[in-house]
């Protein structure tokens, strides 16, 4: 895990640097920004996030469980209340819905955690507290032989500071 960090204060410089690095195909580029910017997304060209699959699966599991548990409970010890059917799906829709939302949401969070690799135990390499404040950062994880190229690109594109990190 070695690489070069470039600290940028301007957004367009950051974008330019990323574009250049992508063009040069050097290293593995990670961009830090205090806030998500579409400009960065656009230049990084990530595919759609897979979090949605987690959400879908969680929601399906939730709705199934949410329907199943009251129906199972009703039939487990059948007691008539208010002359209503023992297992009556209509009111159980509410349970199904709520559990769907609950499990779906938790699955979404799990999806976020898994995909974003948090909680991170090692999160510090290449990071700088400025990135949560006002600066943008580019962390390029690269082979030692590529480091010079990367340093050059970052400096050229307007990095305030460029340094190696390990």
């Amino acid at each position: 895990m070695r690489g070069i960090v470039g600290v940028f204060s301007e957004l367009d410089s950051t974008v330019d640097a990323i574009t250049e690095l992508k063009k040069l195909r050097v290293g593995d580029v990670t961009v830090y920004s205090p806030t998500p910017r579409h400009e960065l997304d656009d230049v990084l060209r990530h595919g759609p996030s897979v979090v949605r699959r987690f959400t879908l699966i969680g929601a399906l599991v939730g709705v199934t469980f949410g329907y199943w548990i009251p129906i199972w409970v009703s039939d487990y010890w059948p007691l008539v209340v208010g002359g209503k059917p023992i297992a009556s799906w209509v009111p159980y829709t509410i349970i199904g819905f709520e559990v769907m939302v609950l499990i779906g949401s938790l699955a979404t969070v799990a999806g976020l955690f898994i995909n974003a690799r948090i909680p991170r135990i090692t999160q510090t390499v290449g990071y700088d507290p400025r990135f949560s404040d006002g600066s943008f950062g580019i962390w390029v994880e690269c082979r030692p032989d590529e480091q010079e190229t990367v340093r050059r690109v970052l400096t050229e594109k307007g990095a305030e500071e460029v340094h190696g990190e390990r």
């Binding site: 979404t108 955690f113 404040d133 006002g134």
Partner: protein, 483 residues
């Protein structure tokens, strides 16, 4: 820009609710956002005083509750057949308060209503604390609160489970889901801000705590990408959830055969009322905060104006629901319903009903005036009336209905006792204690999200428009005046 800058007024740029196009002209750059918002976390004497007062109120309520548990529910003001009283009223009140938070943070997020950005954190925290408060009340009003866990389905040696046809079990699911999801939503939104706190913190202990709480967040593109998606889905879940939760709360009443409760209008009526009351509470909270925390240039008058419009709209919905109730009672031809509504509005409970109608239907009409919408003193005063009115709305729904049911022989009055009032005070103490703890430990405005609407630094001049727009030219931040 100094914190004491006057409220910026931009003629001709009034916010439009479904628009994301909200500007903070007094906020120049990211660092200013970070600095100013983190500045609010400095502890003050007034804060300690407020916290002490909250804890005192909580202690009053807690003592009253212990007394009630020891003696029995009889120390509260119940008067059969009014078997539900202040506790359920307050429960619905606090759940309702919570709803505005989710509306602002989730629904308006989906609607891309930009004015939400500055007030959502406060509103969402309010949601979580309000639901935490509300969640106490169903337990607190039980005859045997130590048995509340029987409402939760878990395998047990009695081999008997909850009764899932009961609206109260739906409540358990709805409230717990709501609490979980809104707390999650709040916390997920907080993660980037916690990272900011962590990075700015110098006290090593606090730094570690913030570090753990931020899960090692480092603002990387991968994190932001999934974060945005997860945030969107959570918002998408919260939206139907918030509607369902108050619908389920309304089912507590609508599923019963009590005249005045048994009506299909209740779910939309309750949801509208909840959002209305919640926005009222948002005003009650955000107006002092923006003043005391010197955040007027973040929470601008434009934002309040937009929120006030929302408030007016929900007030109209609620007012419409009130009138519909009366109409249906008349139109149904049911003597029982008619008798109940006459008793509610002109009989035994006229005072409560008119407090409700005045505070929720008549006074908010003043918001048609733009001048008043932009007057924070007025908004704050109105919000107090809205809070009062919405508490009384629940009073009017619950108490008069129960006191005037089918069986004339069992018609009764109702008056809360000092225990009821003490626990009500305690609930405000509990809520404000959490809220006060929140405002000084965590940023009351969403730092990362505000940075989204603050223009970043550019090496080259760029038009504001293209930045706020959706980046129509991918990969390029060339000056794009061409559009």
């Amino acid at each position: 820009m100094t914190a004491l800058a006057p409220d910026p007024v931009e003629e001709g740029r009034r916010p439009n609710i479904p628009s994301a196009d909200v500007q903070l002209p007094a906020v120049a750059n990211y660092t200013q956002v970070t600095d100013e918002i983190l500045n609010t976390l400095k502890l003050t004497k007034a804060w300690f005083a407020g916290l002490a007062f909250s804890v005192f109120c909580l202690a009053i309520g807690g003592t009253a509750w212990m007394y009630q548990i020891y003696m029995g529910l009889g120390v509260a003001g119940y008067h059969p057949p009014v078997m539900w009283g202040v506790y359920i009223i307050t429960f619905v009140f606090w759940v309702g308060i919570g709803h505005a938070g989710t509306l602002i943070s989730a629904i308006l997020y989906l609607f891309r209503a930009g004015f939400r950005t500055t007030i959502y954190r406060c509103a969402e925290a309010m949601t979580v604390f309000a639901v935490m408060t509300a969640g106490l009340f169903p337990i607190l009003h039980l005859g045997r609160p130590w048995k509340f866990f029987w409402l939760i389905p878990y395998p047990n040696w009695r081999l008997i489970w909850p009764q899932f046809k009961s609206p109260l079990v739906w409540d358990v699911f709805a409230i717990l889901t709501y609490l979980t999801v809104s707390a999650t939503f709040l916390f997920i939104g907080l993660i980037p801000d916690l990272a900011v706190l962590r990075d700015r913190e110098t006290n090593p202990v606090r730094k570690r705590i913030y570090g753990v709480l931020s899960f090692g967040w480092r603002n990387s593109d991968r994190e932001w990408r999934h974060f945005a998606r997860a945030y969107l889905f959570l918002a998408a879940f919260s939206t139907p959830l918030v509607l369902s939760v108050h619908s389920v709360v309304s089912f507590d009443f609508a599923m019963a055969d009590v005249p005045g409760w048994h009506t299909t209008i209740f779910p939309p009526y309750f949801v509208a009322g909840a959002i209305f009351s919640g926005i009222g509470m948002v005003f009650t909270i955000i107006i002092p905060i923006r003043r005391w925390f010197k955040l007027k240039h973040y929470v601008t008058l434009n934002h309040l104006d937009a929120a006030a419009k929302l408030c007016l709209f929900t007030s109209l919905v609620v007012g419409c629901a009130y009138l519909t109730e009366f109409f249906i009672a008349w139109y149904s031809g049911s003597e029982v319903e008619q008798s109940y509504f006459m008793n509610r509005v002109f009989g035994q409970w006229w005072w409560a009903a008119w407090i409700m109608l005045t505070c929720n239907m008549i006074l908010p009409m003043l918001l048609f005036s733009q001048k008043l919408r932009r007057n924070t003193t007025f908004l704050f005063t109105l919000s107090i009336f809205i809070n009062l009115g919405m508490w009384y709305e629940r009073f009017v729904i619950i108490v008069p209905s129960l006191s005037h049911e089918y069986e004339p022989w069992q018609w009764a009055p109702y008056a809360p006792s000092f225990v009821d009032w003490a626990i009500l005070v305690g609930s405000f103490g509990w809520f404000s204690m959490w809220f006060l703890l929140f405002v000084k430990q965590l940023p009351v405005l969403a730092i990362a999200e505000i940075k989204e609407i603050v223009p970043p630094k550019f090496a080259h001049r760029v038009s504001r428009r293209s930045l706020d727009g959706h980046g129509e030219t991918p990969g390029s931040v060339e000056p794009a005046e061409a559009h």
